[in-house]
Symmetry: C2
Subunit: 344 residues, 2 copies
DNA sequence: TGTTAGCACTCGATGAGGGAGAGTGCTATT
DNA sequence: AATAGCACTCTCCCTCATCGAGTGCTAACA
C-alpha cells in the first residue's frame, strides 16, 4: 500500500477510535496534516473503500473503518502507547496483593484491568494442570466422605469432597495418604492419570475401599479440567460506549458473559503466541460481531499458565490496550512465578 | 379503605405489572368488571391519587402505582400464585445437585432463581459463623507457610494460607493440630475467638512459633467475616424490562451489582422474618429507587444461615415472586439441613 | 346521595415539511 | 497528479399540525 494511503487510513481509524463518528475528508486534511487537500484525500478514500478497508454508513456521511481496515491497522500501522507512571503504578499495586489466595488475587487483577482499560476484563485462573503437585492431604469428614486437598507449585489450592463406598479407618487413610504423597508429590500434575492412581493403590484391599468412582474424582481434581474459573469485571464500562446504547447489542453481549463455556472459548482465542487481537468476526464466538478482543497469555516459569483479556467495541483503542495487556501479562507472570519460587 | 377502592387499586397495579403502561379508567372498567362505569372509577382514582397510592405521569395519561400503592398492595391485596408443577420440578432439580461443593451448588441455585423469576438473582453463601466446627486440618506447605483447612457442619469448606514467622517441625505441627482439634471440634464457630486460640496455645514455645499475626489469620478464617460471598445471576433479564431501556438506570444498577459490599447490604434487607419485600426507596442502598427486592432467608436446622433474593423493577410481579421465593427458600433450607445431618 | 353520560380540555405521540450542514463525486483547471 | 469549484444527496433537527387517549367537571338521573 502506498505511503499516503496508509496515512489516510491511519488518520481515519485514529479519529474514529477517538470520536466514534464517521470521519470526513475535510477533517482528515485539517487534523492530520498530510500536506494535501481534502479533494486528494477524497480520492484516496474512494480507493480505500473500493478495497474494503473503510465503509460509508450512508452517502453523505464520512467513512468508518471496516473489520479489514482495523486488521490492517493492527498489523501495520498501530503504535504502542507507553503507559504513564501512574498506570504502571496501578498495575504494580494490584500485583502487590497476597498471591497466596490465588482467587482473590486474580479477582483484583481483573478489576485493575477493567479500570485501566475502561473495557470489560476477562481473567482466567492459572490452569492447574501446569506445575507440579506440592502436597496432598486426605481429611476424613465422616464415615463415608473424604476431603482431598491439593497444593500445586503454581500456588493453587484445590479441594474436593469424595464419597466413599465403604467406611475407612483412620489408619488405612493415613496409609493411603502417605503412599500417595510419596508417589505423587513433585510430579508434574498432567502426568497424573487414573491409571497411575489405580496402580498406586493396586493393593486389593485399598482398591476396594476407595473404588473406581472415588479414584476418578480424585483424578478429576488433579487434572486441569476441573477448575477453569474465569472472572469478569467492568461490564459497566460497556454502557458508556456509544455503540452499546442499543439494548439488543447489550443483551447479546451480557448473555454471553453469563455463560462460562463461552467465556472460555473467548479466552481460548490466544492460542498461539503471547498476545492476540481478534476483531469482529474473528472472535471465536457468535453474537458479538461488533466487538473486538485483546487476549494475552501469562506464564509461570516459562510455561503458559492462563490468559487475560479485554472485550470492547471494534472501535477499540488498540494501541493503548495492547500495550497495557502486554505490561500486565508480563507483570502477572513475574508475580506468580515469584510466588512459585518462594514456595519451593 | 372501602372495598371498591381496593378493587380499583388492585386492578391498576395488576394491569401495570402486566403491561408496564399507565392504566386508564376505561381499561379498568372493561377488563376488571367492577360493575360500574369509567366515570365512577375516575372518581375513585382521583381519591386514590390524593391519598398517594397512585400517580399520573402527565395530565392526559392513565395512572401508575406509587411506592405507597405497591406497599399497600403487598400488605393487603396481593395474592400468592401457586407454582406450576413444572416450576416446582425445576426448583427440586436444582436442589438435587451435590450439596457437597457448596459453592457450585449455590451458583446453580442462583441460576435457577433467575431463570424462574426472570429477574436478577442474588444468593448469599451460608454464613460460616453458624453451625459447629467439624474438623480442622493444618497442612505444612513450606517452611514458613501453613494451610489451614476447616470443615463446618453447614457443609462449608474453607482454607487459608498462613505465613509463619519461624520454621515449625512436623511433629510440633501435629501436636498443635491435635490440640486444636480436641479443643475446637464440635464447638459452635461463633464462640471461637482470638482469646480462645491464644489460651489454647498458651504454651510458651508454641506461642512463639505461631505468633499473634498467624493466630489472627486463623481466627479470621474461622469467623464469619471472611467469606460473605454473594453470587448474582440473570442480570440479562433486566435488559428485557422496558424500565431499563434507559442506559443511565442500567448503569447505576450494574455498578451496584459489581460492588460486593453493596450487595451484602442489599441482602441484609431481610433482617427479621422469613421473607421481606423492599419497594423503591425502602431498599437499603442508594441509586436504585426504581427497583424492588424480594429477599428470603434460609435456615439450617432452625438457624438462619443465609439469604436469597431477587432484584427487579418496582413493577415487580410480587405475587408470583413472593411465592417462588418462599418455596425456594424452604427447599433450600431442607436441602442444606439434610446434607448437614448426613455429615453427622 | 351515589352513579352516570356528556363534553371541553390537556398533553404526549406521531408524522410531514423544510432548512441547515456535512460530506461526497465529478469535472475542469493548474 | 493535485486541486478548486460545484451540484447533489443525505441526515439531523426544528417546527407545526393533527390525533387520540384520558382526564376533570357539570349536569342529569335513579
Amino acid at each position: 500500500m502506498e505511503e499516503r494511503k496508509k496515512q489516510v487510513l491511519n488518520a481515519i481509524i485514529k479519529d474514529y477510535i477517538a470520536n466514534a463518528e464517521p470521519v470526513g475528508s475535510r477533517a482528515v486534511a485539517k487534523k492530520y496534516d498530510l500536506g494535501v487537500s481534502p479533494a486528494t484525500i477524497r480520492n484516496e478514500m474512494s480507493d480505500l473503500e473500493e478495497e474494503g478497508y473503510i465503509e460509508q454508513p450512508h452517502t453523505s456521511a464520512g467513512r468508518i473503518p471496516s473489520a479489514k481496515g482495523y486488521r490492517y491497522f493492527v498489523d501495520h500501522l498501530m503504535q504502542r502507547e507507553r503507559l504513564t507512571t501512574a498506570q504502571l503504578k496501578a498495575v504494580r499495586q494490584a500485583m502487590r496483593g497476597r498471591v497466596d489466595e490465588m482467587e482473590d488475587f486474580m479477582r483484583s487483577c481483573c478489576n485493575m484491568i477493567s479500570q485501566l482499560t475502561h473495557y470489560t476484563a476477562l481473567v482466567a485462573m492459572p490452569e492447574q494442570g501446569r506445575g507440579t503437585l506440592e502436597n496432598i492431604q486426605l481429611v476424613p469428614v465422616s464415615d463415608h466422605q473424604l476431603l482431598v486437598v491439593l497444593l500445586t507449585s503454581t500456588g493453587l489450592i484445590r479441594h474436593k469432597l469424595v464419597d466413599l463406598p465403604q467406611e475407612i479407618s483412620w489408619d488405612e487413610l493415613a496409609g493411603i495418604e502417605s503412599r500417595m504423597r510419596r508417589q505423587l508429590c513433585g510430579r508434574e500434575i498432567k502426568t497424573i492419570t487414573y491409571e497411575l492412581l489405580h496402580d498406586l493403590l493396586a493393593d486389593y484391599q485399598l482398591q476396594e475401599k476407595i473404588s473406581a468412582q472415588a479414584l476418578e474424582l480424585i483424578e478429576q481434581t488433579l487434572s486441569q479440567e476441573a477448575g477453569h474459573k474465569i472472572f469478569t469485571g467492568g461490564v459497566t464500562n460497556m454502557l458508556s460506549q456509544p455503540e452499546f446504547h442499543d439494548i439488543d447489542k447489550l443483551k447479546s453481549m451480557f448473555s454471553l458473559i453469563e455463560e462460562d463455556d463461552k467465556l472460555e472459548k473467548l479466552l481460548g482465542a490466544a492460542a498461539g503466541g503471547q498476545l492476540t487481537v481478534a476483531i469482529g468476526g474473528e472472535i471465536p464466538v457468535e453474537g458479538i460481531e461488533d466487538c473486538s478482543m485483546v487476549v494475552a497469555n501469562y506464564f509461570v516459569n516459562g510455561e503458559k499458565a492462563g490468559s487475560i483479556g479485554v472485550l470492547g467495541p471494534t472501535r477499540l483503542n488498540y494501541g493503548r490496550t495492547v500495550s497495557m495487556m502486554e505490561v500486565i501479562a508480563s507483570e502477572l507472570s513475574k508475580a506468580i512465578s515469584a510466588k512459585d519460587d518462594k514456595n519451593k
